[in-house]
């Protein structure tokens, strides 16, 4: 709990600007034969933001979990304020002033801001809980953070950005000196990011140290003071903000130069594989509004089409409707000359039209099944003879899939959540490719995976296209349009608003989508 005096102390006490408050040295963590961290050194400076950069699986989260007491290192030492410490639990870390804010917020949406901030350490009064005092302190915290949220508001009524502020307030209320933020901006709007950054700067000025993890490199560069780059469990680079730029980070993250590829060439495209004719999907919540507004599109065998658009442009709805998941109001979907509009999703898969969904955890993976069974799930028919499945044939389907999409795994029996995000995504893609489709639709295939895995996924797609596969993928990152796509379709408000070739510029695409051109 925080008292007035403590707070003033934090606010006024002077501190050396480059003082190392926490120093982790030679931290190693292994799980069986997997070395997630190999002798990493990591310093946190008082009143500074230290950002951890690294691809998925580089060991960022593991390191943060160790620093916040979620797990213990296999070897190595953590020195806090000059004294060696160990944290057996998050509680112990918190008592020493280290708090972590997870990517998924840990607030109870059904409780008020006040109740969330004092959850688990309610202020006692003779008659039960001292709500008045709790409310007063909450109000004070909110004022300090310059975020006028009423303490009695229910958390579920707050915007995501505000919920994050509440999490920060809770961490501050237990006197946290080191605040670890795991991907804090991934779900925030641009203005909410601004607010968060203002709060972070404010915290810095009060001597609170921030450890920051983000996939948005440019964004992180705006706020960070120190940068630490991890690759494959080792620290590859360390520098102060003034010495680095984006290129430096990317170079150290991936080890060598990469690009997302260019449109595959050297072959002639086939006939029209997929023809979308005047597809319309009404908005169930707003009568009269169209999520997809009479969209028509032809995709040839061997062609790669990118659909670009902002949130709510109708990309996901279009793809889901074409795949047969979403009911349409008008239009036809024609696959190689055959109208498949009336077929179920399963029948369309049989015909060779497959969808790789956007949210792999929610829609792509069966978490209770091992990697192999996930890979073979969509092509069970291929290894069924009569009534029974054939183990041998299934194994060959699985082995092929693992080889074709280059999944890094111990084998088909490995648990799904033992894979990194990029490899999980490859499982979802591999599962659909194992059905030998003619047309593959991918909804944001690069979501939540690192640059290296992104490049691999795009390489896979362009290899597929070279063999006659028709590929349609959607993206919200303009950089991904200008990679392997032969054609770029820009969607806005449910309609196709522009079409470009691979030689378009970022500015053209963004202007067409209605996005403000960022310098």
């Amino acid at each position: 709990m925080i008292t007035e005096r403590d707070r003033n102390h934090v606010l006024t006490s002077g501190y050396a600007s480059d003082e190392v408050i926490l120093s982790a040295s030679h931290i190693a963590k292994s799980f069986g034969n997997v070395h997630a961290l190999k002798a990493v050194n990591f310093d946190v400076h008082r009143g500074k933001v230290t950002t951890l950069f690294g691809e998925n699986g580089a060991g960022k989260s593991t390191l943060m979990k160790i620093l916040s007491g979620v797990m213990q290192p296999s070897s190595g030492e953590i020195v806090l304020d000059g004294k060696a410490v160990t944290f057996a639990s998050t509680m112990e870390a918190q008592n020493l002033g280290i708090s972590i804010i997870h990517q998924e917020l840990s607030l109870a949406p059904n409780l008020s801001v006040r109740d969330n901030i004092f959850m688990g350490r309610e202020l006692r009064a003779s008659t039960g809980i001292n709500y008045a005092e709790e409310e007063r302190q909450t109000r004070l915290l909110m004022e300090e953070l310059d975020e006028p949220i009423d303490p009695l508001t229910l958390v579920e009524d707050l915007r995501l950005g505000q919920q994050q502020i509440v999490e920060i307030a809770r961490a501050l209320s237990v006197n946290s000196r080191i605040l670890i933020m795991d991907e804090p901006t991934s779900a925030l709007s641009a203005t909410e990011v601004e607010v968060l950054f203002r709060v972070i700067r404010d915290l810095k000025s009060r001597g609170v140290s921030i450890v920051y993890i983000s996939h948005h490199l440019e964004e992180a560069l705006q706020i960070t003071d120190h940068a630490v780059v991890l690759r494959d469990g080792s620290m590859t680079a360390y520098a102060e903000r003034k010495d680095i730029d984006l290129e430096w980070i990317v170079r150290n993250m991936v080890g060598n130069n990469f690009d997302l590829g260019s449109p595959p060439s050297g072959y002639t495209m086939g006939n029209v594989a997929l023809s979308i004719e005047g597809i319309a999907v009404p908005d169930a919540t707003v009568p009269g509004r169209m999520l997809v507004d009479h969209v028509s599109l032809n995709v040839h065998a061997g062609e790669i089409v990118c659909i670009y658009g902002l949130m709510g442009a109708g990309r996901t709805e279009l793809l889901e409707c074409v795949a047969g998941r979403l009911a349409k109001a008008h239009g036809r979907v024609v696959l190689e000359g055959e109208d498949v509009s009336r077929l179920s999703l399963a029948r369309r898969i049989d015909k060779g039209l497959v969808l790789v969904p956007e949210d792999r955890q929610r829609d792509g993976l069966v978490q209770t099944m091992p990697v192999g069974q996930n890979l073979s799930l969509a092509s069970i028919g291929a290894f069924t003879r009569g009534l029974l499945t054939s183990r041998r044939r299934e194994q060959s389907v699985i082995d092929d899939a693992i080889n074709n999409v280059h999944i890094k795994t111990d084998g088909g029996e490995a648990a799904i959540d033992s894979l990194s995000g990029g490899n999980q995504q490859k499982v979802v893609i591999g599962k659909m490719l194992a059905t030998h489709p003619k047309v593959v639709l991918l909804d944001e295939p690069s979501r939540g995976i690192d640059v290296g895995a992104k490049a691999e996924v795009f390489k896979l797609l362009s290899e597929g296209a070279a063999q006659g596969l028709a590929v349609v993928y959607s993206t919200s990152e303009v950089g991904e349009c200008l990679s392997i796509a032969h054609r770029i379709i820009v969607m806005g408000r449910g309609r196709i608003v522009a079409e470009f070739g691979p030689d378009a510029t970022k500015e053209e695409i963004m202007a067409a989508s209605g996005e403000a051109v960022v310098a």
Binding site: S61, I349, T368
Partner: protein
């Protein structure tokens, strides 16, 4: 039994992880088996009558009723559902069979039709399938929560059974030779190679379930539907039809159990099998299945049914009062569930720590992506119920 489930055993073990020998893990994985051994050893010491082939066969034929219900229940639970109506369906089926054996008066023709026993069996199974189909359609197509839909059926089926007999019991199930409908008692009393018919039926149903779950597309569909229905659907799995099918199969299993039970008791009463649905769920849970779906197998479920049956019969044999029997049975169930949560949280933690993905990854399938997941301090989703 353990031979037939060898396949699942090895799959289960290797699926579990690193292949290292781990005593805790072994105890957890095999807990139903060890519990059964412990029960047999303890009761054999306490009572000389317990450890005899004859007693085991008698107990096994009691177990067969629970096991039949549990196997049907397993299918439903694997898809993430629950079937509370099996006890009532059992009674309904028994009464229906009894009714058929009394002869069907066709007043229009002025005759009474006495169907032969095999027709009775088929019609009764069809009735079980029909009851299950109603459950399944309610759950899959009308989106009624499984708990509520089958709770309703629990009352309705029991009520119809009571209505059919006006609350009375059919005691004359033997039929008569001149009517050609004898042989019903064969199910409950006869033995094949010295083993009661009920046990044979249980074994056949278990093998069919085992093959269906491990070697057919249907089995894969069942597991994937329970693991993540949305992902299964997008992979072309006919999720709704799978859901209807498991309730239909559960209904058929309950009807078979009803036939065997009324044959064993030589009477078909509308109050038979009260609370058996709970025993069936207990069997599945003791056998290591997760009520959230996607995890569980036939071997464990059979062991679970044997644990419950051998325990309650053992308590009867050594003369423990029926009140204490209830207490012991309840304790065993809770202990099993306790071990269940240890096992799954252990598995979760292990997999959690072995990678760099967010800790909510598993939960993501069940919660809306936008909704904040409530996590406990250990980074383990707390909303797992």
């Amino acid at each position: 039994m353990s031979d037939t489930s060898q396949a699942t055993t090895s799959a289960q073990v290797s699926r579990g992880g690193n292949g290292k020998f781990d005593v805790t893990r072994l105890l957890l994985e095999g807990r139903a088996f060890f519990a059964l051994i412990a029960i047999i050893v303890i009761f054999s010491i306490l009572s000389p009558a317990y450890f005899s082939v004859n007693n085991f066969l008698t107990m096994s034929s009691h177990v067969s009723i629970f096991a039949l219900l549990s196997l049907g229940m397993l299918l439903v639970i694997l898809t993430g559902g629950i079937d509370l109506s099996v006890g009532s369906t059992l009674a309904f089926a028994g009464v229906f069979a009894g009714f058929l054996l009394q002869g069907i008066p066709l007043e229009f023709f002025g005759v009474v039709v006495y169907p032969p026993v095999w027709v009775v069996v088929i019609l009764t199974c069809a009735l079980g399938a029909f009851v299950g189909a109603i459950n399944g359609v309610l759950v899959a197509y009308f989106k009624v929560p499984a708990f509520v839909a089958t709770l309703g059926m629990l009352y309705v089926a029991r009520g119809v059974a009571l209505l059919m007999t006006d609350g009375l019991t059919y005691n004359n199930l033997g039929g008569s030779p001149e009517l050609g409908n004898t042989g019903f008692d064969w199910l409950g009393f006869n033995r094949l190679l010295g083993i009661p018919i009920g046990v044979w039926i249980m074994a056949v149903v278990a093998i069919v379930c085992l093959l269906a779950l491990t070697r057919t597309p249907f089995g894969r569909w069942v597991y994937s539907t329970g693991g993540n229905a949305r992902a299964a659907e997008l992979s072309g799995v006919p999720v709704k039809r799978v859901q209807v099918a498991v309730y239909v199969l559960s209904g058929i299993c309950a009807a078979i159990a009803g036939l065997v039970l009324s044959s064993q008791l030589t009477s078909a009463g509308p109050t038979a099998g009260t609370t058996y649905e709970l025993t069936a769920i207990a069997g599945v849970v003791i056998g290591g299945a997760a009520l959230t779906g996607g995890r569980g197998n036939v071997r464990g479920t059979l062991l679970g049914a044997f644990v419950i049956g051998f325990l309650s019969d053992g308590l009867v044999i050594i003369g423990v009062s029926s009140y204490w029997q209830t207490v012991f049975t309840g304790t065993v169930i809770v202990l099993a569930v306790l071990l269940n949560s240890i096992q799954y949280s252990g598995r979760k933690k292990r997999s959690d720590t072995s990678n760099d993905t967010t800790s909510s990854s598993q939960q993501g399938a069940q919660t809306k992506a936008e909704a904040p997941v409530v996590e406990s301090a250990a980074g383990k989703p707390a909303s797992q119920s």
